[in-house]
Symmetry: C2
Subunit: 347 residues, 2 copies
């Protein structure tokens, strides 16, 4: 299916690397796995200045570039070789909508966070000669990938900064993600994933957007009408003009691939279900960075996990926006993240 | 439409009083308005021992009796004349499902919290000769009615205990309630509200139940598997066995009437939109009782309102269950409520 949203016109420049067939955790193979990535800066001679940036649910390399990367940020291309890898299923890398039949759409294989991290590892080591990462950083599902990296490849990850995410999906997050899946798959136009054009499923996508509205921002942000800062005239205007506008052009099967991956993120897969043992594998210096007003990755959950990391510190970020502060909705949030990442990189 | 759920077999004994036609805030008339109520104890000679108990979204007099009323509780029938009035649309009082054509189902008129409170006032004053209330108490939408009483009839309400609710619906609550409305009305079987039997809309009702699951309990309650205390074997077992089981027998039009009423609760309707002025009308002694882990009536919102009440005190209740602690899911919650209500009644 063609979808003009997943193009360089919308998401800026990016490169594609075919890393070959990827054998998957849940069984099956993702054939000719293509990873879309974007790099900034240069790998130095010691090959010790590489930073991996991961992406979140629905996010691509574009927003990571726009919000987190640049001379004014901790992720400074003048100092670091920064590579942003789009997660599988996000529409730029191999995804349901861009895979040829018969593995297209709802037949796209089931992907897990571990599959992404192994694919990213292959890309970094075999195509870029990167054997050490000064930092892995990402938000939300990007934090899930960050934790997976630190647990799976402890020798390679020197520092890690999971922002607004957890190493093990909590029961509440799993439940919330079920409701976002239901919102789309309950649309009669979903047709078991065999819609002709994603725009036919717009009602489900709109419901899905509203659920993000009800959980993605803090109750207080909505009460204080923080959407005014973004130029919206009412909460309904904000829900439609910001959230529906954001999700509407996306492919529903892509989103479902991501949602399923999100639900099952759990580093304790490596240790027979024991989270303590999994987290004990981490040797990286880790700043665990919850957002204080996040309603579905509340600081309490992140604090519990931070305690399990030997070189881990709980370093919360304040933002009344809540989870979707990740989008860089206010400068104060970005400044705090930059400050913390600079501090971590100096350790 | 017949629905065996809304019967004395399920909800225990209750009486019906036809209070005549009720002219409605939003226009229109609820003809032959019937209020279902249950009383406990006896009105004393001074007529100063009456307590009004209101009901929440989907709740009836039955759960208020089971959890909050009895010799062992603050609401002791040996001392007080307690009357629980079922809110309009809850299935026992006049509701979409029990109203004859043409005002049945989706043609049931739009009801507001103020309509309920005027109807309850008529019932109390004209049929019971009650002119003074020692206490008005209710949770969630019951708290909305409690606030409406205290603002609208300040001379009559001596004490008020709004539990886990607000005087003015917050933007986040309005948004959340939109998602629960969407969950039902997006079911193709909803048929604009003209389904033949409510069980046909079971998929929508199940989705609606899951949204309550994602917001009704604290994230920590789910993480700590508190559902084990209620005898459930997994979170999915709990969602189906508790929440779907609870909502499935209900009438969708009834729920939509309640949801609309919930969304528009706002005592500032009395004062041209000025919440401060509305709250300043309250002369009752008020214990504002949020539940500390409530995700959609967070203590912060209740605290803001408590500050506007001259005889108001913020008296939070602790429960990891969050909002649905209201159901009396653990004894410790009920004990705290009893303690606070006893203290308030002694003032």
């Amino acid at each position: 299916m063609t979808n003009t949203y997943y193009t360089t016109q919308v998401h800026g420049e990016y490169q594609i690397q075919n890393i070959g067939d990827l054998t998957l955790e849940e069984g099956g193979v993702l054939r000719n796995c293509e990873l879309a990535y974007r790099t900034f800066g240069t790998l130095n001679q010691d090959r010790d200045n590489a930073i991996l940036v991961t992406t979140w649910y629905s996010g691509t390399s574009k927003i990571m570039e726009d919000v987190y990367i640049g001379e004014d940020h901790a992720l400074d291309p003048n100092r670091y070789f920064i590579i942003v890898v789009n997660q599988i299923g996000n529409g730029l890398s191999s995804s349901p909508h861009n895979t040829p039949p018969p593995f297209n759409g709802p037949r796209f294989p089931t992907i897990r966070i571990g599959d992404d991290v192994r694919a990213q590892h292959k890309l970094l080591t075999q195509y870029f000669g990167v054997e050490s990462l000064a930092l892995v950083v990402g938000g939300s599902m990007g934090a899930q990938q960050t934790y997976e990296w630190a647990v799976r490849y402890p020798d390679m990850v020197k520092r890690a900064a999971p922002i607004a995410g957890t190493a093990q999906t909590t029961p509440h997050d799993k439940l919330f993600s079920e409701t976002v899946i239901d919102a789309i798959t309950s649309d009669p136009a979903w047709q078991s994933g065999w819609y002709k054009n994603s725009s036919e499923v717009h009602i489900g996508l709109r419901r899905h957007a509203k659920l993000w509205g009800a959980m993605g921002f803090s109750t207080e942000a909505l009460k204080q009408k923080k959407w005014q800062e973004l130029g919206f005239s009412s909460i309904d205007d904000f829900m439609v003009g910001f959230l529906e506008n954001y999700f509407l052009p996306m492919d529903p099967n892509n989103l479902m691939t991501l949602a399923s991956k999100w639900q099952h993120a759990d580093v304790s897969r490596h240790t027979d279900g024991c989270l303590e043992s999994a987290m004990a594998r981490i040797t990286a210096k880790v700043f665990v960075m919850p957002i204080d007003e996040d309603m579905f990755f509340p600081p309490r959950d992140c604090e519990d996990e931070a305690r399990l990391i030997s070189n881990g510190q709980l370093r919360p970020v304040k933002s009344l926006w809540g989870h979707l502060a990740l989008f860089g909705l206010e400068p104060a949030y970005v400044e705090q993240v930059d400050q913390l990442l600079k501090e971590l990189l100096a350790l």
